[in-house]
Every structure is written in structure tokens, then in C-alpha cells.
Symmetry: C2
Subunit: 413 residues, 2 copies
């Protein structure tokens, strides 16, 4: 077993040649990996069964065991995910900015790979393949650190990837899995500034906080979503109900689901009873004092405004104006996805301009903030910070730029 | 005197309204600031004199005292710098990507301000005005932390800025100067993640290292430049000499000056004596063993390859190939600016593709890597990292993006 430092050095080394490869070499390698995964399905499912059984034995919640489990069906999804990425436009060595300086030097601002990307993630083994696929297509080497509960699955998957790469023009050294499941190794990884260009945490709030607080390697904060819908005075209430139901219930455990709704005081008497009627049997409503005047709710306190429930719970607050809704969201939100339901043009414009978030919606569910839904094909995570990438990180967010300067002897006066 | 926390809260608050202002409001405010600076010239120069005299008394090196000194001429340069930024295109609320999803939601990827930017810098007081100007034009509030040696100058400058803003439509709360000159306050600033969206260190290697190692706020590493020129076998040696001289000597104390040249073994016997002849009287040459076979040099060791001299010293190394030059630069360089002098098309292409740096030149001096020379009008610093911004950071590097999503009731299936 290579040490972490050896893995990092080897990845950095492998990354230098990756950057200049053409699209065909990368796509051929990805298809070869897809084939190796299909060929090794039995071995992979057997390794996964070890993880699943030991997770069950350890008393892991069944919803988490389900995320860990691989099936023939899920293997097929993984492989079709690779095929999707093969079909996407190569994000490397493109430019939309080429200009010539007064002195005749031509400058191209070209997209280039980052180098070595690391991802630290939780139990879902398909992330292993998704992350590798996005990294390779964007010309990056990748260091994977999955959950210890998925270690056998991940080993089998990475072996298959390396087998696929061996049959291609790309070195198997472009992917490494951290096999040491000791937590201390994550701390070590976060300090590998000489070798890692970017580290992305993908998982729960605890993991993300740990990584952003301890990383010396540049990192991107992902995924925590305390999202809101604001039902404005002029909202189409039928539309508002459908959107609130969808954004809360369609998949409550994801980051782009909503946690609080803000209701304009003039819409409250009409909207709240209909809301209670529509979702009250499935969702626990926690309301402010003014809400309690219209419907039965559990009293909400300030902690509710700041909580990402990820559950069948919805906080409800009545506000006096669009401005108050904007202030509330900018104060308690996590800069992920926010939506206004309105027919007031000025308010829609103000909301979209003044809310500080990755995605700001008018008259639509917040559930569309992800790489798949937005047409990116796949994603590495959803950034909730403002540096480098904001929102879903697809292939175009995994590259940096380089100024390519061509002259014929220019010197500076 | 406001506490740092009070300043941060007030800036964050002021930043929310800045983001939706149109270009005219920002330009008018900048011109009003320019006028206030002109009106208060005497007060500012008097305050600066206090700093200069106390710096001289403390025995500060005269080159540093010179950087600290303001004159009527330098005040005019500052003001004309503001006018340049007024003339630049507003970087906010533009999009080059607008598309419509299958379900009819229209997505615009819009440029928006970061929010609150902080800059930590050394003695030059003109940075106070440059940084404010770039921040305001890009819709950001700014927290300034200059050197304690320039505190009186910076106070007077910021007072003038606030006076100018008071006569405009923009709140004077968009700029704050940290007046506490205790170093501990920098540590505190670097942890203000709730209020600061970005912190940029601008100064020597020590400052940059301290900030990047201690910041919890997202930061951009700037300015350290261990840059190279590679004189290839096919180089026009006359051109190579002129470029090496320019890149080393024109201004040796700046980050885009070169520190080491790599010479192809086949060019060494012709090139090295001419180099010695051309710059040997002004520049100390430190060479590898093979170099010493052609010209008198001080022996270079590995430390020389890794050193940013910022002085009249140049390290010289003979290499066997373009590949060796690329490996050397990727190993010892700081990812800033690198140049190949060649007439070999394949080598020029390989060098530009495989060198990992912000700017990679063919047949030109590395001295052009700055915002002014590249046509950005002004810059906040030069990024040597890969996240978010790489190379000179002008107005377009001080913004992030927001996905503006417009629908008519769409929910996720």
C-alpha cells in the first residue's frame, strides 16, 4: 500500500501529461473503464456485499445501507453516467477571450485542468466513479477518500478503473484511492498543498465544516442548503402551493429542498389554510406567532429559521414585505437556492438582484439546482461559496485558466 | 473607533444594496471621490509626512520610505487611476450564458459582486485608493488593512473617500479601514467568515504565507514569482539576450521578473558568453557546473533554483531538452510567468501546454504579466493559485456568478 504522500506525488506527476491530451484519448479511456466495470460486475458486487453486511451488522440505518448498496441496476446507471460524460463537450483548451496587445503580443485566456483534485465523500460508492469520470474528462488526476463503510466497494471499483486505464493510452496513476480508513489521514490530506490543487468535500454538514475549517489546500464548500420559498402578495396561490409542496416533499433529504417559507401578510389568510390542508398530514409545520393566528402550528423560534431539517418539517413565517423576505433570507439562508412566487415584476427583479445565493428563482421550485437538471450532464457537488464555482460544479467548474502569450521578441519598455 | 466586528457587520450590510446599483451611480460616486481627494490634497500630504518622518526616524530603508511617500504628482496618478476605472466596462450583471431548460425555465448565469472583499497590504498608500476603486466598480464593499507605517496616510485617504461618497448616492459604509495596527487583528480578520467573502494579501512572501496559512475566509494567493526564461536550441539569440536582459533588469524587484534561465545545451556555447558580456557587469550570475565550463559564475545549488531573488542576481542552468526545461520549471517555479525563446513550433506548443503557470509566453518577456500591460486597466494583485482567478486580478476577477432562474410554475417530477 502506497503512503498518502507517495500517492500524491504520483498523482501530481501523472497530472502533467493529462493536461495536453486530446478529447479522443480521454473518451477512449473512459469507455475502456466502462467496459472494465461491466466485466468486473460480479467482483464489485461481491465486495459491496461485504460492506453492506458489515454495515447492517453494525446497526447502520437502513436508508444509509441503501445508499451503500450496489446492484446490477446501479452498476448500469454508473456506466451510463460515464457514457453521458463521454458525450459532453471537452472543457479543456477552449477560449472565449483572445486579444492582441498594442505591442503585438497575442493573449489567449485558455481553459486548462486544475491538476490534481481530491474528493472526500460519504458512503455512496457511485460517487467514486462519477468523480473519477468528471476529473478525467476535465484533464485532472483524482485522489479519492470515501467512507470506511464503503472501503471494499471502492477498492473493487478503483481496481476496475485502473484495469480499464491500462488498456487505454492514459496511465492508471491518474487515480488513487486512500485505503487507510483512519480519520487522521483526512487531516494529512488537507495539508498536501504541494500536490493537491483542490479538495472538495461531499457529504453532510459535519464533514463539510471539518474540511473547510482544516484545509490548507484550496477547497470548495458544498451542499448545505437552508432554502426558502417566498410567497408574495401577488402570488398565484395555486402555483405557490404546488411549488412549496414540490420543494419540500419531493425529496426532503437533499440540499435544494426548502426548509422555511415566508408568506406575505396579505396572502396569509388565503394561503395558509390551503397549505395546511394540502401538506399538513405529511409535514410538521412550525410557525411564527402571526402564522399561529391562521393555522395550528408548532411554535417556531429563531433556531428554526437557521435549521436545515432535511426532513418532513417546514418552518413558516409571515413577513410584511418583499424587502423583509430578502433580509430574512440573506440573514438565515446558506446561499444555495431561493425562490419567490409572485406576479409583481418589480419584486421579482429586486428579489433576484438582492438575494445572495447560487440560484435565485422566480416562480419555480428550488429543486432544479443540480447539474443534471440544469443541463451540465453530471456534477461534482454544489458549491455554496462564491470563489471559483457557485452552484452545481460540472466539467466547466473543474478547470482553471492559463494566459497563453505569443510574441516575436517583445520586451517591456 | 468601531471594533473589527462592527466594521465587518456594517460592510456586509452596506454590500447588499451595492450589488443592484447601476453603473452610473458607481461611476458618479468614484468621480466624487476623485474630487474629494483633490480637495483634501494638503491634509493628505500632511498626514503622509507624519508617516514618512516616523519611518525615517525608525531607520526604514530609503527604498521603502519612497514607496510610502505621497507627492502631488502621486496624488494625480491616484486620481487618474480612478478615472481609468470609471472608463472600464462594468463587470456586474453581465451574462454570456443564457439557456432554457426542457421544462421552460430560463437560466442566466449572471456576474454579480462577491459582497465584502478585504485586502491586507504593505506600505504603499496608493493601494488604498486602487483597491477601493476596483472594489466599488465591481459592486463590492471593502475592508482595508494597510501597514502600520502608513496609518496616518491611510486614515486621511479613507476620510477623503468617505467624504466623496457622502456627496454621492452610495453609502460611506462601503469602505472601512482597520485602524488598530496590532498584528493580532489580522488573525481576527482572517476568521470573519460570516462577513468577508474574500481576503487578498498583497505584499511580500511572508505576508502572503501568513494569510494563506491562517485564513478561514476564502483567500487568493498572490504575487510570489520564481519565473524563468528557457533559451531553446533554435532560439534567435539576439532576441533571447534582449528578453533575458529585460525580464531580469528592467525592474528586478517585481514578481514577473525572472530569477533563473535555462539554456539548451546546444545553444550554451554561443549564448552564455554573449549573456555574460551583455549583463555580467550589472547582474551576479550563479551557474550550474556545466555553465561554469563556458563562463565564470558563482556555483549555484538547489536553493538557487527555488529562490525568488528580487535582485540583480540570475541563476543559469544548462538543460538537455525542452522536456527537461519543462520539468525543472514545473518543479521549482511558482506558477506565475514562464517564457520559452524558440523557433521550434512543436516545442513552443509543448511548453505552453505543459507548463503549469498563470502566463506562459513564447518569444516575449515575462514582464507583461500585469493588469495594466494586459489591458485590464488596473489590478488588485496577481493570483498564483488556480481557484477562481489566475494571473492579474482586474474587475472581472472580483465578481462571482449567480444563476437567475425564471419559470412559470415549474416543479420537479
Amino acid at each position: 500500500m502506497k503512503s498518502l504522500l507517495e500517492q500524491c506525488k504520483s498523482l501530481k506527476n501523472a497530472s502533467f501529461s493529462l493536461g495536453s491530451l486530446g478529447t479522443k484519448a480521454k473518451n477512449d479511456a473512459l469507455l475502456s473503464v466502462a467496459e472494465a466495470l461491466a466485466n468486473r460486475e460480479n467482483q464489485i458486487l461481491e465486495a459491496n456485499l461485504i460492506d453492506v453486511e458489515s454495515a447492517e451488522k453494525s446497526g447502520m440505518k437502513s436508508s444509509l445501507v441503501d445508499r451503500l448498496r450496489l446492484t446490477s441496476e446501479r452498476m448500469k446507471d454508473m456506466i451510463s453516467g460515464i457514457e453521458t460524460v463521454v458525450s459532453l463537450k471537452d472543457p479543456v483548451w477552449n477560449s472565449r477571450d483572445v486579444w492582441t496587445l498594442e505591442n503585438g503580443i497575442t493573449v489567449s485566456k485558455m481553459s486548462v485542468p486544475m491538476g490534481v483534485i481530491s474528493i472526500i465523500y460519504e458512503s455512496r460508492p457511485n460517487v467514486t466513479i462519477d468523480a473519477f469520470t468528471l476529473a478525467l474528462k476535465s484533464g485532472n488526476a483524482i485522489l479519492l477518500r470515501g467512507s470506511s463503510s464503503a472501503i471494499n466497494s471502492n477498492k473493487a471499483l478503483v481496481e476496475a478503473v485502473k484495469e480499464g486505464l491500462r488498456k487505454s493510452r492514459i496511465s492508471p496513476d491518474v487515480i488513487e484511492l486512500v485505503e487507510d480508513t483512519d480519520r487522521a489521514v483526512v487531516g494529512e490530506l488537507l495539508h498536501m498543498t504541494e500536490y493537491l490543487d483542490l479538495v472538495i468535500p461531499r457529504g453532510g454538514a459535519g464533514l463539510i465544516k471539518y474540511v473547510t475549517e482544516n484545509a490548507k489546500v484550496p477547497t470548495i464548500e458544498t451542499g448545505v442548503g437552508n432554502c426558502h420559498v417566498f410567497v408574495d402578495e401577488s402570488a398565484d396561490l395555486h402555483m405557490a402551493l404546488a411549488i412549496v409542496e414540490n420543494a419540500k416533499i419531493q425529496r426532503p433529504g437533499v440540499c435544494n429542498a426548502i426548509e422555511t417559507i415566508l408568506v406575505h401578510k396579505s396572502a396569509a389568510s388565503q394561503f395558509l389554510p390551503r397549505l395546511k390542508n394540502k401538506i399538513g398530514d405529511r409535514v410538521e409545520l412550525r410557525g411564527c406567532e402571526r402564522t399561529a393566528a391562521f393555522i395550528d402550528v408548532i411554535p417556531a423560534d429563531e433556531l428554526d429559521w437557521a435549521t436545515e431539517y432535511l426532513d418532513y418539517i417546514l418552518a413558516v413565517k409571515i413577513v410584511d414585505s418583499c424587502d423583509e423576505a430578502i433580509s430574512h433570507i440573506n440573514r438565515y439562508g446558506t446561499k444555495h437556492s431561493e425562490s419567490i412566487i409572485t406576479n409583481d415584476l418589480a419584486n421579482s427583479r429586486k428579489f433576484q438582484r438582492n438575494i445572495d445565493a447560487a440560484a435565485v428563482y422566480v416562480n419555480a421550485s428550488t429543486r432544479f439546482t443540480d447539474g443534471g437538471a440544469m443541463g451540465f450532464g453530471a456534477e461534482m457537488g454544489i458549491s455554496t461559496q462564491k470563489m471559483h464555482a457557485r452552484g452545481p460544479m460540472g466539467l466547466n467548474e473543474l478547470v482553471t485558466i492559463k494566459y497563453v502569450m505569443n510574441g516575436d521578441g517583445q520586451i517591456r519598455e
